[in-house]
């Protein structure tokens, strides 16, 4: 008997944090413009010491002003998607659930686009304007997951295959609506939008949106983490969980809202990056076990690592041109999804 301890959790998270750090350093170095590790270290140090005006070279500016914010964005987006995926898998009792596969990402994208269209017509105060797109994405995500949940039920029970099918159909329906909106929208950068839909981390964010993203991530992930022990039992079935003292309704509501927030935030800043929420939790379960008290934090780190790597590949393999990061994750994710699906059906 080897129950989970806080020490074990901290050790595992520490190891993953080191891996993440190493990946970030490599990601800062790689790119269309080569940078030496030495120069990189000196530049990072000068930024930390708040002497940003004394960067050693022009390259330093590229690294600090362009690559670093993008990597930080990849970290938060990856962690959000991975925690959202872990939560959806527990909530729906389906190991193949993921914001992208369930159509939730497309719902969030549609919500974000509707918010973008509506915003100029509404005289919104500045603080609300910054929140408006993520809010639209959150509502889109929440509505989609509710619809998919209702469509995925058969005789009062969630049916695994029906649920996935409902998600895939919703996803294609929603992307059709998005395409319709995008083509009828004049004056918008259609190619940029299409790129964003595939999952793209290259757009720079307003600083207010950065704070919304970081705070939203911390609050939503924290809220889900308070239900970590309950989620372990919920996986055994709602009735069993109830008899073991889980307030099933409360847990479901908290996780549903928080996972929708995470998906909405990630999609509103980076589009629909698929499969991160599906694959990372699976890998973390293989490495660290399926207890959510360990799985949720390790999945957050794992998602961050995965998306930083995927984005680095996306901007280097065809440099100086770029791929959408969602294309990278789909290239790896889709075959693995098929593999998991077939193993499950067998």
């Amino acid at each position: 008997m080897r129950p989970i301890t806080l020490q074990r959790l901290l050790l595992q998270c520490g190891i993953l944090a080191l891996v993440l750090f190493a990946v970030v350093v490599v990601a800062l170095k790689l790119g269309a413009v080569p940078v030496s590790l030495y120069g990189l270290g000196r530049d990072l140090l000068s930024v930390l010491l708040r002497q940003t005006s004394q960067l050693s070279s022009d390259y330093g500016m590229i690294v600090i002003e362009i690559r670093l914010p993008r990597i930080l964005l990849a970290i938060v987006v990856g962690a959000s998607l991975s925690v959202a995926g872990t939560s959806f898998q527990a909530l729906l009792r389906n190991p193949l659930a993921d914001p992208y596969v369930l159509g939730v990402s497309m719902g969030a994208a549609l919500g974000a686009i509707l918010a973008l269209i509506a915003e100029p017509h509404l005289a919104l105060p500045a603080w609300l304007a910054a929140l408006f797109t993520p809010l639209g994405a959150f509502l889109g995500a929440a509505a989609t997951i509710a619809a998919v949940y209702l469509l995925g039920r058969r005789e009062g029970q969630i049916d695994s295959a029906t649920l996935l099918l409902a998600g895939i159909i919703s996803s294609s329906f929603l992307s059709a609506i998005i395409m319709f909106l995008l083509t009828t929208l004049t004056g918008r950068d259609f190619r940029g939008m299409a790129f964003w839909l595939m999952g793209d981390l290259s757009s720079s964010l307003q600083s207010s949106l950065r704070w919304v993203l970081v705070i939203g991530f911390l609050v939503a992930t924290g809220a889900i983490y308070t239900t970590a022990a309950d989620l372990n039992l919920l996986l055994a079935g709602e009735k069993e969980a109830m008899h073991l003292g889980v307030d099933v309704r409360r847990v479901r509501l908290v996780v549903y809202i928080a996972a929708s927030i995470l998906t909405g935030l990630a999609v509103s800043v980076s589009g629909a990056i698929g499969y991160v929420g599906l694959l990372v939790p699976h890998v973390m379960r293989l490495l660290f076990g399926s207890d959510h008290r360990i799985l949720l934090p390790t999945a957050a780190f794992g998602g961050a690592i995965a998306v930083v790597i995927a984005d680095t590949l996306a901007r280097t393999v065809v440099a100086p041109s770029e791929l959408p990061v969602g294309a990278m994750t789909a290239l790896v994710g889709a075959p693995l999804f098929i593999y998991l699906l077939r193993r499950r059906m067998a």
């Binding site: 008997m1 129950p3 055994a236 003292g245 889980v246 399926s290 008290r293």
Partner: protein, 287 residues
């Protein structure tokens, strides 16, 4: 039989629930229920008023054919359903108004299992029984581990501790599930057809274990079962249901009457007294 004080000494951290002596612990008072697809329509199934009482250390068997309301009655006792009328009292508390955690500290339910989505080891599964005692962000401590070890030992499953749940036999799994229920340190242990899918040896084993646990830990045990002879052998009280009606409540000897059982179960049978004073049912072939 060991005295309660002796057996309890092996259990640290008894919790706040009072352990009564020989008083009535479970009191089912005129409890009824109605299932309906839609509130405006007539109910699809009605469970008529049911009453019985049970003391610590007693085993109550709920018997009846399919769709007689056995599981519904068990859910009402567990507090998982709110009764249409009447109430279920456990040491003076109305079970369905207890908060989920408080209820899980008093009532443990062993259900027909749902498959696990991700593999778990037996000890991980048993430790889940400590959930009602933990705060949401707490990790299990040494007391929890000790309680889980004791629970596994009490059901004779210590050797299964490190095995995967999906790789052990049905009878072994039932023991682990029972150990998880013991980890909740309940006053009331409820079992919904626990002998289903078990071979005959494992069935007798399970009931004998329940008998011993009820005596040692002073649980009140309520078990829903189809096994007439197992119930006759191990139960102190039998509740016989048919189509939502409670036909008889009493000792197996008083409930097991040939005419009654033949009518309820639609089968030809004989009832004889065993040497231990408990009735025994023999099914007769239909010619």
């Amino acid at each position: 039989m060991s005295s309660p004080a002796q057996s309890w000494s092996a259990w640290p951290n008894l919790g706040d629930a009072p352990r009564a002596g020989s008083d009535v612990r479970l009191s089912v008072e005129q409890v009824s229920y109605a299932y309906s697809a839609n509130p405006s329509q007539a109910p699809l199934f009605t469970l008529e008023a049911n009453s019985f009482q049970s003391r610590p250390g007693e085993i109550v068997a709920i018997l009846g054919p399919n769709a007689s309301g056995k599981s519904t009655l068990l859910k009402l006792i567990a507090g998982a359903l709110a009764p249409l009328s009447g109430r279920v009292l456990l040491d003076g508390f109305v079970t369905h108004t207890l908060a989920p955690r408080a209820r899980a500290q008093r009532i443990a339910m062993v259900q027909q299992e749902t498959p696990l989505l991700f593999p778990a080891r037996a000890w991980e599964f048993v430790l889940q029984g400590r959930h009602p005692y933990g705060r949401s962000l707490r990790f299990e401590n040494e007391d929890d581990v000790l309680i889980a070890r004791n629970a596994l030992a009490q059901v004779g499953a210590d050797h299964l501790s490190d095995r995967w749940m999906n790789e052990i036999s049905g009878g072994e799994r039932q023991r682990v599930v029972l150990a998880r229920a013991l980890c909740q340190q309940p006053l009331l242990l409820l079992l919904d057809e626990p002998t289903l899918h078990l071979d005959i040896g494992a069935q007798v084993d399970l009931l004998a274990t329940l008998r011993r646990l009820a005596a040692e830990n002073r649980y009140t045990v309520v078990v829903v079962t189809h096994e007439l002879n197992l119930a006759a052998e191990y139960a102190d009280q039998v509740v016989l249901l048919q189509k939502g009606k409670s036909l008889r409540v009493g000792s197996p000897a008083s409930v097991y009457q040939r005419d009654l059982l033949e009518e309820v179960f639609h089968a030809r049978l004989t009832v004889e007294q065993g040497s231990n004073g408990r009735p025994r049912v023999n099914l007769l072939p239909t010619s």
